[in-house]
Every structure is written in C-alpha cells, then in structure tokens.
Symmetry: D2
Subunit: 327 residues, 4 copies
Amino acid sequence: MSFIYTGSIRTDLALEAHEAIHAKDRLAVSGVDTLTRSTPNTHITKVHISNDQGARRLGKPVGTYITIEAPKLRLGGHSIADEVGQVLAEELLELANLSNEATILVVGLGNWNATPDALGPRVVDSLMVTRHLFEYAPPELRGGLRSVAALAPGVLGLTGVETEEIVRGVVQHIRPDLVIAVDALAARNLQRVSTTVQLADSGIHPGSGVGNKRLGLTEASLGTRVIAIGVPTVVHASTLAADALELFCHTLIKQNAISPSKLQSALPTENQGKLLEQLLPARWEDLFVTPKEIDALIADMAHIVAGGLNAALHPGVDAGEGEHYLQ
Amino acid sequence: MSFIYTGSIRTDLALEAHEAIHAKDRLAVSGVDTLTRSTPNTHITKVHISNDQGARRLGKPVGTYITIEAPKLRLGGHSIADEVGQVLAEELLELANLSNEATILVVGLGNWNATPDALGPRVVDSLMVTRHLFEYAPPELRGGLRSVAALAPGVLGLTGVETEEIVRGVVQHIRPDLVIAVDALAARNLQRVSTTVQLADSGIHPGSGVGNKRLGLTEASLGTRVIAIGVPTVVHASTLAADALELFCHTLIKQNAISPSKLQSALPTENQGKLLEQLLPARWEDLFVTPKEIDALIADMAHIVAGGLNAALHPGVDAGEGEHYLQ
Amino acid sequence: MSFIYTGSIRTDLALEAHEAIHAKDRLAVSGVDTLTRSTPNTHITKVHISNDQGARRLGKPVGTYITIEAPKLRLGGHSIADEVGQVLAEELLELANLSNEATILVVGLGNWNATPDALGPRVVDSLMVTRHLFEYAPPELRGGLRSVAALAPGVLGLTGVETEEIVRGVVQHIRPDLVIAVDALAARNLQRVSTTVQLADSGIHPGSGVGNKRLGLTEASLGTRVIAIGVPTVVHASTLAADALELFCHTLIKQNAISPSKLQSALPTENQGKLLEQLLPARWEDLFVTPKEIDALIADMAHIVAGGLNAALHPGVDAGEGEHYLQ
Amino acid sequence: MSFIYTGSIRTDLALEAHEAIHAKDRLAVSGVDTLTRSTPNTHITKVHISNDQGARRLGKPVGTYITIEAPKLRLGGHSIADEVGQVLAEELLELANLSNEATILVVGLGNWNATPDALGPRVVDSLMVTRHLFEYAPPELRGGLRSVAALAPGVLGLTGVETEEIVRGVVQHIRPDLVIAVDALAARNLQRVSTTVQLADSGIHPGSGVGNKRLGLTEASLGTRVIAIGVPTVVHASTLAADALELFCHTLIKQNAISPSKLQSALPTENQGKLLEQLLPARWEDLFVTPKEIDALIADMAHIVAGGLNAALHPGVDAGEGEHYLQ
C-alpha cells in the first residue's frame, strides 16, 4: 500500500520503474519481460519493453534496458571493478552487434564543471579514440581496432547550443554506424548510486539524466542507432522526501497511531504538493542528493565505463587490458 | 512544537542554530546577543555568543558570527553581487581590525574535485596574492597593498596529510597576523544555499563544513587569530528528511488526522533512528542535497568572496574594483 | 641582406609576413595596402591584401588583417588591458558590421590541456552566452544583448573528429550570421608573444595556429562569414634557430671574420636543412618556444579577448563593463 | 672543439653535465664515477659525484644521479612504459633502502596550470596515498602498504608562500623517513625530453627544474633524506640557440669558409652575450622549447612515474600492478 503520490518518484532506471509497478500490483506487467543472470559480484537484469502499453506503465520508451548491479563495488578493490567492466563489454557487444568495420561515435553528455554530472565528459576523456588514425587506412590494417570518435558537447548553459544540435551536425558529417551516449542518471534508491550501470537501446530521451536535456538523442532524431549507457550518481531530493514520508506513514500504522484510511484521507495529492513546496524552494529547478565522496565515485565509474568501452569497441584489446589503454 | 528529534538537525550557521532554539523557546537565549542591520539587498545578523552557556545551547564556540543574507542574489545581476562583496569587505575589516603592515594567510579549505566542496580552493585561485612581492620591499612602498599569502591544502584523502598539519606548518614559518579560512558550509534551510555568507571569529572547528574536517583551525591550535568565512552550498540529506517529517506531522495535526500526544508517543527517538537507517545507506558517511546548478553557484560565490577579500585586504583597491583584481 | 633561408620562417601574423617582405625589398608590395593608427598604449596596423599577387607574396589569403600591438601590456595593470579590450571591440564591430538581430557563433579553437594552445577554449569559457535564452524571445525584448552561442570543439587527437566537421555541423543547424574563431597563434618575433591581437576577415586556414589544423574555417567551407581572432603565444623553434643564425652571420661579417659572398656560398639551402635536422629531432612534428609564465599570459589574454567580445557583441553592455560579464 | 660559451648551457641532468665535460676533455673527470646497465628498452647510467672537485666540474652537488633513458618510449605502446616504470621502481628501492614501516612524503613540485611544469602535481594526483588510513593501525595490519603522504604545494606566484616553507612545515609535523620530490626538468638535448627519468639522492637545489625554485629541498634544509625524481620536459631556448650556433660554426669550418682560429677570435664571450640579448627578450625570465604534444607527454610520463612509485613504495603491490592502483 502506498500513501505518497508516486507521480513524484523520478528514476532513470527502467529496473526501478518496473520494481515500483511490480511492488504495487504484484502482477506481471503486460508488455514487459524481465530476464536475470549473475556473475560472482554482479547481478544483471534485462527489462524488455515490447509495446506501448508496457512503455506507458513504466514511463520509458519501448526497448531493452540492461542493468548491471554490483553492490560491493564501493567496498572492493580493482577485481570487482574489472568484473563490472567486463560484464559491461559483453552486454554492450551483444546489444550493439557491431561489424569490425563499424564506426562508433561516443557522446559524453553532461557538464565537466558539476561533479555529479561529469561522468560523460570523463569517460570521453579516457577513451581510446582512433577515427583520425584510420581515415586513410584500409580496414585490414587496423590491427583489431574499430574506428571510434568521441565528443563531449558540454551543456546548454555553457554553449548556448542544444547538445542535440551539436551531435546531429556531427553525425551527419561522420555518419557513424552507432552512437553511444554516456550520461549520469538519477536513481530512486540511494543504494544504486555508483554501484549500477544501465545500457539501453532506446537512446536518450528529453528530461532524463542529471543534466538538462530538453531534446533527445534517438534513432528517430539522429538517423543512427543510439545506445545509452548510464550510471546513477544522484537521487532527486523530492524522491528522498517522498520515500521518507512513505516510510513514516508505515511506521505510524505499525505503531497503531493512525489507521490507513484516516491517513489516506488526510493526504490528498494537493496537500502533498503544498508540503513539498514548503520544503523545496521553487527557485531550484532540481535538487539532488549525492554522497560527499562524489568526486572519487565519478572517477572510479568513469574508469570502469571507459575500460569496458575500450574492450568492447576494440576487439584487438584483451578483456583485461581495456584499462591499459585508458588515456 | 517539534516532533522530530532535532539532534539530527545539522547546520554550520550560528544564525540557524539560534533560530532553532529561539523558535522552540520563544525566549532570549542566555549568553547570546543578536544585532541586525540591512542594506538595500542584504540582511546582516550578528550573533554574539558570550559565554559557555550560550555556546552549549547553540552548539557553536564562543565568538561573533556575522551572517549576510541576500535572498535575491540568485536572481539579480552583478549589482547585487557587488553589494554583497562590499558588505563582506566592511564586516571583515571591522571584525579583523588589521594594521596596514599586517600579513594575512588565506586558507581555501575543501576539495577542488568535488564541486560543492570547491569554494575554498576557487577563492584562493582568484585572490590577489602579494606576499612574494613584498618580501624585500619596505611597507611604505607597497602602494596600498597588504602582504597576502594563500594556500589550498586539499583534502585528507588526496594527500594523506591533515589540513591542520599543513596549515600549522606554514603558519609557523610565515607567522601571519591573521588566518582567514574559507570553506563551503552545510545549512539547515535550502533557501540559504548560495545566498548567504557567514563570518566567524572563532575559527574552523572539527566536523564543520562540507569537507571532512577532523581537526580544527583555531587560535588555540595555530597560535594566530583565525576568521572563518563560509558559504552554505549544501543541506544534509538527514536534515531534509527530518524537515519533511516535521512538516508532515504538522499537516496531519492540522487535518485532525491524529492528536499531538498520540503522534509524539508513536515517535520515540529510536523509531526515528530506524527510519533514517532504512532511508539513508549506512555506507555513505554523508549525503548532501545540492542544486543542479551547483557549478555556476560555486563560481559566482567564489567570485563574490574573492572580490570582497581583495577589497578588504588591500586598502589601495577601490571597493568597486576588487573584482578587477580577480586573477 | 639575408643569409638564412626565409622559407623556414613561420608566422601567423600578416603584419610580420609583410615586414619580412618589406624589409628585404624596401618597396611597397603590390596588392598590399597598410594603414596605421594609435591609442595611448596600442599601435594598430591594418594590412589589406587585395589580390592574388599580394596573397602569394605574404603567404596569406586575400582579406583584411588588423594587428593590435601593446608592448607595455606585460608590465601594466588593468588599465592597459582595458584599453586593448576596447580597441579590440571597436575594430571587431567595424570589421563585422553586425545587425542587432544577428546570431553569432564563437568557436574557441585549440586544446584545453596544452597551455599555449588553450586560448580559444578559455575565451569560450568566459563568454556571455545568450542564444539559449533568446530562442523563444522576440528581438525587442533582448535588452541590448545579441544572440551568442559558443563552442570549444577540442582537438582532433582528443575526439577523432576534425574541428571543421564539428563546426560545420553546428553551423548548419543554428545558421549564425557570423562565426568568430579564436585561436592561439605562432609569431616570428618573441616580443609579440602575448602583447598582440590579430583580427582577420579571411577566416582560419589549414596549418595556421598553434594547434593541428588540417582543414580550415572559412566562408567557403562553412557558408557563413568567419572572422578570426588570434593571439601569438609561441614562436616556432625553427624560427628562433634561424633568427639566431641570421644574427650570427651579421656578427661575423661586422667583425670582418668572413665576407658575405663566402658565407653565402657555404650556406646553400641543403646545408641549412641538414643543420636543422641535427638540431631538432625529427620525431617532433613541431617544437615551440614559449615563456615560462605561459599560464598567466594565457589567462590574462583570454580575459582581455572575452571582455572585448562581450562588449562588441552585446551593445547593451557598456564598453568598460564587458569584464563584469565574464563568466 | 667548442666555439660557443658553454656557460650558457643549462641542464638539470647530471648525465648531460658529465657528457659536456667529458666530450671536451676526453678524460675521466676526477671525483666522478659512472656505471651503466641496460634492459631491453632502457639504458641506465649512474653518475656518482664523490667530492667537491667533481661537484664543481659538473655543477651538481655531491651525490648519486641515476638516469633511465628509453629513446623508444615515444613510439612504443604500454610495454615499454611498463618496463620504464619497473626500472624506476627498482632503482628507487635500491637508492632509498626503506624499511617496511617507513613513512614517505611525496612532494609534487611545479604548477598545475602550466603544462610543461605540471608533472609533479599530476604524479601526486595519481599516487596511492595511505598515511591517513594507517594513523591508528599497527604496521602488521597494513597488508604490504607503506605509509605514503603526498603534497602538491603549487608555485610561489599562486600562493605567495615559498614551496620550501610549506614542505618544511609539513615535514616537521608528519616527520617522514624520506621525502621524494618529483619535478619537471630542463634538458640540454631535445631527444631526452619525455624519454628520460633522473633519480638523485642529493635533493632539489635552487634554480633547478622548470619552475621557479628559489630555495631548495635537501636533507640540510628539511632534516630528512630527500630523493629527487625528475623528467625533462623542456630545453632552455638559450641552449637551443647556442647549440644551433655551435653546429653552424662546425659547418662553416667543414666547408672551409673560415678557419677555427679566425672564428674564435670573432666570438669573444661579450659578442655572444649581445647576440642572445637581441634574440631573447629581456622581459622573459625564461623561455622554453617544448613539443606541441606536451599535454600528452606529461600525462604519459606522470602515469609512468606514479606507477613506478606505487610499485616501489607499496611492497604488496605487484610490479606489473602499480598501474592498477593509479587513482
């Protein structure tokens, strides 16, 4: 039973959107299939949204969403990190189905100067970029390296140009076979911050991610397949507040201090809205909850994602060696 | 009336500590005096804690705490920013009472790489540093500039050396007349984030600020007067959660859904503790709420504080000109 | 009389190219007109190349090249810097002839991570960007601000995408009335490093600048007028070596140690080439001479250029106020 | 035979100082012993200066100077880099003779903001810092990690405090058993830029390095052993000019254009001084020659040095694994 209006719950993870629906209805969600597998330190869930009904329920476009969870990532040394990088490489290769001659454009979304939003640019900074080397070389001489270009287009406020406009222009000129868009995400659950990676073949949609995406990066808008890779780095403050209130309601009921029906009648959506208004200043478009160690977390996750991308995109690079090629 | 255990409320602003006590007791707090004044766009409050009783009540050491609030700072152009910089310069000069021959060491606390904690290093980066120019010049040739040195000692995790150890070593060698320590702070109220500056003549105390200060920077530890200048850049997530619950309790009572006494008996401190445990993962030492625009806010506030310091520390620099000398 | 092969002299300043020819021939160069004016601390030279003959002689495309020299810039305080910013704004406005409704794209060429090449990105970082604010606002409500977008496309090696490809894509989408390309340049004379600004209406041409420009940014390639703004930050090591040898030859002759004809016969071009090969390792594509203080010089010049651009592009910003709007 | 006054030759490498003397005299230099060894891709020379006579001849203090040269470093992949890191670790361990309980302070000299001088701060940034973890842990629980602290004190102009003052203060507080000072150096020969690492047990001396060291870091000044690790990143412009002239003289003689004696009589030291004055503007304290790719070179060399330090200082880290622990 849920007392607090879940409309206020915001998550970029299809897994969490699915959990929220599933927890409420305890029923399979029509148009949504899930599949899981595990490795020693990771748990992988594929949420496949196959039709509009599923898309509406989960609030995510039709597509495949792969979540790699590694709860021990924050504790462990570099062996867990290597494992996550390797799983990421495997899942990306399966999802992307790339020929050896493919050209890939990696777009690092987000803002260099705001630590929780800096994942994308940092991944781009560590990537093994090869397109400029191959322009005049025949594919057979590429030594197991695919043609990879990378771009960190910055944020709207810094440039006055929408990210989508920059990327669309570049895509039209270099005509890649695949765009991989890397972004920092908002999760619902703080436990998933910097322990989770999501891959999605539906691209980037307006309003998702930590940054200010007013437009999207999708096959429809770019004319090229787009795979999004995201790592949760924040939780919306409104999500945290709503979760606190929900837990509180259950505590009161467990203590027999109030009956469920009485509680529910005291909490119409408009009261909840007023409460949040008092709590969260209107002048902030968005408030985020983020751990103090966010700088180290972002550095670690950028390392893992860039290592996984190097290993996946360049078949000549050994799985365990992706890290060696970090720039 | 307060339902949620205020022990969980954490603020680095003496003003907010005073408000919390005052709101509860509606009485003057013994050992604490306050004084206010205004300029067109700022409101200045001096909280003077004169004895141990006041210090215990407010949870802050004996001393003078000056808060400059400028709620319109986020909306306005550079004229409000200039006004805040000028008020900061005036209040600092009155608090510091510096001779023209004084040597000042400005210490920028915090971590370059974590945006909400980067205020101190950024102020140091923009400061007009002159000590190296004056080493061999007589005071009468300094042209209205005081001898200013600056240091951004980084954070413990980056260096393995406590900030206090670094600063103490430098202080012993350069023997400044005053240490000014600039730091990012945690407020209770989100409205004060990046609209407020606090000056305090009691120095920096362990556990304060956004960073991980295990030791302090005080006259007792350094052998030199210390003035702390702080700007709130975050609110603790636990504060936000507690505030949400408090507001919620009042909403329930206003709706006659539950009586105050019943609510209070359902909420012993241990229940509240369990609730926060479920909500906030134990593995994070600290979780912060911070606006998405934190990079721009930190840049603006660093500009204002550095401009105010340049104008205050260098009498030959015109009030409105402090900004020109930003590095 | 010149002994050392002038083919090795490389400069991005039309002024220096003209000086070199003029010094040799002591005659007006056909197809090239020059015009000078002064302000208290600057000397402004307009070199106008009107036909192909002039272009061939100077090794620069047909167009107008304005050089602002301020030899005292390195010594002076902010008043000389302000004067240079103001002259830059005036000359840019005259050259650009912009309507109030014009949209301008500023492109900061060069590489953030290599200090002597970082001028362009730093200027972009300090610019007053407004295009995103105006997208839905009618021109009459823009309050004296033009629509300005900015882009720092990085360097080829970082992204695998030619700068020209990125810029062309963005230009096609936002269709600006003018592109302003800011770049770090190589001068012939060390005295001009960081004391000089060049404006040119012929755009950016392959091989110019400190960075690795293999393609150009011109009206022909972009379909939009391009004004280039450049500041010399380096001298090629081969230029310095050649200048050292030239001076040496003149010293020997002055000392009557050798006759001009004997010297010349000992120095056919192939000997000079071997000499440089021994001196400058072949594996370096380019070696630069740059002052140790290059970080401070770049910061100062970026400040001046961005301040001048803010004042020129936004008519509502007072001449002396451009600096206030630096980000 | 040398025509150009070698007083103008500046190098921070003892190897090059020795080469210069040795080349001239073709005799053993009294008070100086050398020893060499090789690995597949490196050549290691130990220059041991044993008395004042040797120190005066080489212009370096008494001590041991180990130079690791790897000419193919710029061409090769990560295997040559790994080899250099491993050799560095071996030589450092032999020179340092550390107990497992030793505390080491690594000082990264130089200026973050000037690429050729940024080696020291970048190494510090990538180092595995452990001192803060061990403060309360007994040595037997340290798992093969020594207590390492690190400091990047910045440059004089940024802080107004001499580096030596900061380091001395910190050393007095944390009392390390060894200080390792990492710095960017000036070489005589461009071929050695970013292909060479020097270790020296005589510390850092005034005037050495790329930065502005007015004081030194030595056992005499700090009361602790100091090992300096340096990588050449620049050549002084005056060295390049002098080398150009020297080569030119030999070319003229080879061509029989002038006799050695005539050349020498035309070139008294005062003529050479005037020539350099005309060539190199007096207002620059120092002019450096540096490759355009300096940003990538510094990143690579910082990676190698930090990897070597991690492997040497932490015995529990496998030789090949030092890189994995890069931060």
